[in-house]
Symmetry: C2
Subunit: 615 residues, 2 copies
Amino acid sequence: MRWREFLIPTSKETPKDAAVPSHVLMLRAGLIRPVMTGVHSYLPLGWRVLRKVERVIREEMERAGAIELHTAVLQPLAWWRQSGRAAELRDALLRLSGPPDDWRCQTVLGASHVEVVTEIAGAYLRSYKQLPVCLYRIQSGFHGEERPRRGVLCPRESLATEAYSFDANEAGLDESCQRMHDAYGRIFRRCGLPCLACEAERAPDAIAAHEFMMLAEAGEDRVALTDNGDYAANAKWAGSAEPPPAANVPLEPLKEVHTPGCGRVEDVCDFMGTTPAQMIKTLIYVGTEARRHEGTKGNVAAGAPAGRGEVAAGPRTGRSARGGIRVVSLVRGDHELNEHKLNKVAGLTLELADPRTIEELTGAHVGFAGPQGLAEKADKLIIDRHVAAMRNAASGANQTDYHVMGINPGRDFPLEGDNVFVADIRNVVDGDPSPTGGGSLRIKPAIEVGRVAKLGTTCSEAANATFLDKQGQRQPFVMGCYTINLDCVIAAAIEAHHDDNGIVWPMSIAPFQVLVLALDPRDEQVMKTASEIHDELDAVGIEVLLDDRDERAGFKFKDADLIGIPLRIIVGKKSLADGRVELSHRRDGAKHTYEPTAAIRQVVKLVNEELARLS
Amino acid sequence: MRWREFLIPTSKETPKDAAVPSHVLMLRAGLIRPVMTGVHSYLPLGWRVLRKVERVIREEMERAGAIELHTAVLQPLAWWRQSGRAAELRDALLRLSGPPDDWRCQTVLGASHVEVVTEIAGAYLRSYKQLPVCLYRIQSGFHGEERPRRGVLCPRESLATEAYSFDANEAGLDESCQRMHDAYGRIFRRCGLPCLACEAERAPDAIAAHEFMMLAEAGEDRVALTDNGDYAANAKWAGSAEPPPAANVPLEPLKEVHTPGCGRVEDVCDFMGTTPAQMIKTLIYVGTEARRHEGTKGNVAAGAPAGRGEVAAGPRTGRSARGGIRVVSLVRGDHELNEHKLNKVAGLTLELADPRTIEELTGAHVGFAGPQGLAEKADKLIIDRHVAAMRNAASGANQTDYHVMGINPGRDFPLEGDNVFVADIRNVVDGDPSPTGGGSLRIKPAIEVGRVAKLGTTCSEAANATFLDKQGQRQPFVMGCYTINLDCVIAAAIEAHHDDNGIVWPMSIAPFQVLVLALDPRDEQVMKTASEIHDELDAVGIEVLLDDRDERAGFKFKDADLIGIPLRIIVGKKSLADGRVELSHRRDGAKHTYEPTAAIRQVVKLVNEELARLS
């Protein structure tokens, strides 16, 4: 390809709205063109990268036995209602506009395609003999994020690989999931992404999940991991080792303190001369039962199992007639409550209670709640493990403008009981002991590029997608779900591989493998040699771009650095006088001169070596 | 690929809703799965076909110098307003649903991508030195057809190639258009589609267009063509030779006839003993100025040229204050008025007038209009050429329950004048003399698979997309637009290549090139040989499917015929006892037996011959 016949609109300026290096470089190198917030086009150079990533994915999916299909963007809303995901996504699920009763009103843009693919499986996979099957697509997905994130990370429209496996039983799912886990690992390795498979927050319907995360300053996710590599998890979901047992100190008596206007932890600490680590934060939530799919088609789903491993809602559920189930949660003043964990422990979808509910429950204004007596008044009391290990702590007094000191778990509020749970409901922090016992956790920013999750039978039950087992009984498919965000893969590759001058593409996904740079394109001999090298490389299947622009050498070098083609052959008058051209690496700038035919041989060798290294 | 590891859900039953052979066969052969009206998924076998078509398109587009990019589905409504196409498409332009002032309300699903690609060109192509450039995409397009058509022909969501060329001047556009015309011709030839390039109805913004049509009974389009091949046009737009001059007969006097209740041509003819060919139909329309883009961004568009070659609206435009411009049109009673042609001649967007307007204008109930006196009362009188050549005709009398006989053009109504136009405003009919003078026209059903159109500067002016010419002056790009509907290509290929038993794929787009059919898969030797043949063909790059299912031979043969793989190797116990396998063609059923290695050699030879024949 000749630069002048291609479209690579490079730019020297740093775009205003771009905050992270990958976004800046994708704009500056002419890979993408913004269309609207969260939506962009891939320009020809960016599209070549995307097609290379697609190719790697297809090769590895095929190797793993997955079968590609193409599902439409437009989907019936009814299917999303049936799966329960219309309610789950709410506004994030994009819908068409149209008059009532028009087909448009009943149509959504696929945020993902589990409903569509499950319907296909249900229609065509009839017997256990046909299983396992893994179906995948590589296409656009749509998500109405209110606040689309930085650059191409999680935009409103993005390109994704979605794969779904259908198995006859859990053992089959384990195998399918492992096969896809391995395939995804190979895909990211081949794309040059040093990824960690992290324990993930489980989606409502998933029974286990791993996220493939690449550590990067620009990442919006957080990973908790140990230095020795024996633990890595999404920080939103990560656990830590049990806290040390309570100190063996004499229990002080409970003492009320007048703390007028001190509703915040810091104010109380200042006032009472204590520390946040000695405070108990009492946070009150109101919950509704965790959602299940809205409707069911047949018998199979009717017997849908209640929770798997979650703490059961308990007999007291529903005690509050007005405003849902009231949950009191306790965490240490220096810790952050983790709502995901809290929801999971409660088996509910929780929201912070409004002031009226709090005042009703505690008898005090907001900011003065304490655990005393609330186990009896609320539906659930959920206590973080670190709170359970506190001694002589401080907390609100359930009386406006009063706190208490010398509060002790077990004495002043229960640690056991039908509606009392001690659990891990806090965010991990840097330095926490690892749950594996091996060292302490570090929290680092990361980009999520993919995810594997075991869905079990929830989706197939909702869609009534069944097969006949060996005994001739109808069974719902046991499903797994595997996604890769291609936009994120490209952004992550740039985050991992760039320097101050531009992108440094891994060979496997570089838009071209070698750039031939004609330094003096008006010089006939230079242009002739550069063209010949281009044509010969092209003929042997090397992806080559010839910079044939009539521009200054410095300008062309800057563009070359910016767009980051891994190898570079420089054809200039001076070296050509000695019958030689210069071959250099974008990665380290290492240069050697060769005769043109030797340079071509060397390029072929380096390309193959580099691809082999990544495979 | 092994059948048991793939997903090919064939079916013996003819689907209820499928009317045309291609739709029936796509469903029965397991190529597609319906999702909702006008929307379907491509199942793995269909997706392979689609990917083959894509590959052919990419190769030919690249050969023609076009550059691929990827544009998003979501687009700003503002861009569609600016180009005027939001008004043009109205409800057919799908929009997102959301609260007022939300970004969703301002977002559409791309029906096509001229706005987006023109914006990119305007942003990055700055100088005439960068031109010509042709950008293309192969992706989904969305169209809210009220009545999606049969099968995969023109659904609500379809896969299309859209290419846009950007040139500095008309001469450049001519070249770009010809290059794409040639590329499209090669694409259809390679896909096995015998296409005609037909003169097309021009879109409102196009200055010339050709549609690639394939004659097929299932087609919803109509083509008018001559047997000698010197003329082919979309029948909606086709012309015919000038009618013979008026017969040299004495002019009869005008005579009123009482025709109570005879408002329809047939009734009048019966009543008056005349024929439709002797009647003048007087059809009254109300029009608005043909739309232009709603807003313009800058100076360039402000001077947008009025019509190109259309008949000017004339000084009388706008005479009717109420209800728009009134146009009276005359066609022979046995002819059909062509509204597209009428609009073009009028330079207006016309709709049939309501009864009140008709009665106001003619002074009679609907059904009794005649041309007498209407040139004076209406804004325009547009007379079909065949009417101008009539003598002693019949028509309405502009008086309820009365017709006239002996009406003569030129005497009883004018053929000339400021607001009088004689033009071709009728549909061509089978047997019309060709406008080229070469024989007569035949009207045949056809499928449109592609289109090339010269857009000129309308779109670039609307978007204010300009470049600097040699003189350093800003000029709008001179654009061309080139589309292929991939769904239609596949449907057309099946329409052209099938028999009673199923599909007969052209080698170039067959999902697999050869099917190895293991007749007795439980026989170890059969399965071993079949597997070896499969593996060896696969190793030499032949796309091979092995039917390894444990099913009856007849069942497998039926499926083989249905899915239509071009070549077939049958491995059975009987012939294998002689060390031979059978090689046959799906097209003609011709069979030969070979030793396995010879069969492999023969397959490679036949595949290459067949691909060469199509290239």
